[in-house]
């Protein structure tokens, strides 16, 4: 196997909370508690989790928008924290991002042409080259070259997200990180953008890191999925294997909680008792899921399970992964 395109090695990210008292040191939240992950070229990896799971933080660290508190992020084998100016420019060209909010991610005072060409600013192109690049990339997302002179408010949400995708494509990047690219869109429009992402992957062989809270979206676009919970990856594998026989109770709960258009479906609950529901990032011993997990046993409270192999190309962070896998399907 070739070296991974993007590699995260035990990445930890802590944020300081605002000081509550002058005498105490500010409290910290742990957004990422040691995440290791590899994305190889041409692959599409989905990152699934609920709010506060750290999935968006991971995306931002992967693209070097924020530094990791500890651990290492490597792009093409180079540590992104210590890049030379030349390599940093290359990184800015080779990794692009698509954001969640198609209304917030386009500057309302700039034309579409300007916005789409923005990632090219460091490459000294003349006007004609720039216009040609914009026209080409707009065409590849199904917009007309004439749209380049319009402003964002003249487009619908779905079209805006196409524009955001066009902006990410213009540098011909090797990796695109898409953070909830369809969750702000209406269902009838989501499908257009999802199909577009798939087409781009096929046509250009772009590597995708798709961050989403929606399992179905990830299942549609990705060949590999990582499930995150409280700053950790709790399970990783192919969507098919993962969704048919989840090896981690949290994955199981996520799948079970997903509403499906089947009238009167039976439900399973993850929460045993009335959990507080507050995502505390307690760094105690034991499994971070132990207080919510219906299968938790004594061992879970004293010993944190490592992310380990539980099958072919399959990892899970549960002491009883093999047992969980054999439970009847969550759906």
């Amino acid at each position: 196997m070739s070296a991974p395109l993007l590699e995260l090695d035990d990445v930890v990210k802590r944020y300081a909370l605002p000081r509550e008292s002058l005498r105490q040191a500010p409290r910290q939240v742990v957004a990422l508690a040691g995440v290791s992950l590899a994305v190889s070229a041409g692959e599409s990896l989905g990152l699934v989790g609920e709010s506060g799971s750290g999935k968006s933080t991971l995306g931002r660290i992967a693209i070097a928008l924020e530094p990791a508190s500890s651990g290492c992020v490597r792009f093409e084998g180079q540590d992104v924290a210590s890049l030379t100016a030349e390599h940093r420019r290359r990184l800015r060209r080779d990794v692009q991002m698509v954001f969640q909010d198609p209304y917030g991610s386009l500057d309302p005072r700039r034309t579409i042409g300007w916005i789409v060409a923005e990632p090219l600013w460091a490459q000294h192109l003349d006007r004609a080259q720039r216009q040609a690049a914009v026209a080409e990339v707009l065409a590849s997302v199904g917009l007309r070259p004439a749209d380049a002179t319009k402003y964002p408010h003249e487009f619908s949400g779905g079209q805006r997200q196409r524009i955001a995708v066009a902006r990410a494509l213009i540098t011909k990047p090797r990796l695109i990180i898409a953070d909830e690219p369809v969750s702000a869109l209406d269902v009838s429009v989501q499908a257009q953008v999802l199909n577009l992402l798939e087409d781009l992957q096929r046509e250009f062989g772009v590597t995708f890191l798709l961050i989403s809270h929606d399992l179905a979206v990830v299942d549609h676009v990705c060949e590999r999925v990582a499930v995150m919970y409280r700053g950790r990856i709790v399970e990783e594998g192919s969507p098919r294997a993962l969704f048919q026989a989840p090896a981690h109770p949290y994955t199981r709960a996520l799948i079970a909680a997903m509403p499906r258009p089947v009238p009167g479906r039976r439900r399973e609950r993850f929460e045993r008792a009335n959990g507080t529901g507050i995502a505390s990032s307690g760094e105690g011993a034991g499994c971070p899921c132990a207080d919510r997990c219906p299968y938790a046993r004594e061992r879970c409270r004293v010993e944190a399970p490592p992310l380990r192999e539980v099958g072919a190309a399959r990892r899970a962070a549960c002491h009883f992964a093999e047992e969980v896998q054999t439970l009847p399907g969550p759906a």
Partner: protein, 325 residues
Amino acid sequence: MTLLEVDDLSVVLSTARGPAKAVRKVSFALARGETLGVVGESGSGKSMTVLAMLGLLPEGARAAGQARFEGRDLLSLDEAELCRVRGDRIGVVFQEPMTALNPLHSVGRQVAETLMLHRGMSAGASRREAIRLLDRVGIPQAARRVDAYPHQFSGGQRQRVTIAIALACGPDLLIADEPTTALDVTIQRQILDLIAGLVEEDKMALILISHDLGVIAENVGRTLVMYGGALVEEGSTSEVFARPSHPYTQGLFRARPRLGAGRGTRLSTIKGAVPELADIPPGCPFAGRCPLSIPACDAALPASVPISASHAARCIRLDVALGSA
């Protein structure tokens, strides 16, 4: 027995581009104890329909038609009479629990206020009742948490508090407008279970508004599908989901990514985008995006065509639509 009867309800909004029909002649009835879902995308008019019933329309909006609740037309009530119905006979839960609660008052006080206002309870009695209600909606250690403030609760718990407020006076009708859209899936599941349980125990009627077909399917007995301000399809949930009939409903079902469909399966799309309210065609609102549309679709809003005793759709090409399904 009919609890709510909505008749030809229309809402006209004034927008920057002139008046726009946000709700077009919507009629439906709801019996005591019945659960009704309204599904639609942004701009479908699903929220406007209930806001009109509650007299909570934004400034510059006008409502026409009737909405009879226990025989009284809500649209003809004055503000004082409406206030007595809202929060008392009709409980409402909105999408954003943080903005629905006053950050400066303890949650107990906010639950108790409703009771003092509508039931004339004393401060002590309403506080005891508030604790009981908070306990009932699953706030752990309700007696201790009653004096806590909204920011001390998680998103899911805040939504539980707004449900407690909605339930305080034992309403006959609970309206939940996208109650879980701001929440995570696992929390969403808990809140929906809670609402379903409470509705069943208290024999309330429920109107659940959502953009999510899954949420609707699992929680209500009857479903209305709205698009562009019009009610395009209605029926028992099992029939609508087993046999979506309006081309829009069909498109919506096909466009939704399904878990387990796997990679590479292409989603069928609905062409175009949800139109601006002011751009909605005068005839069938879906005509501009519909694969089956013919010139006659633009003539007038189609009449409701029955498919079975408890299932109907507004489409003049229903024969073709049903054939292709």
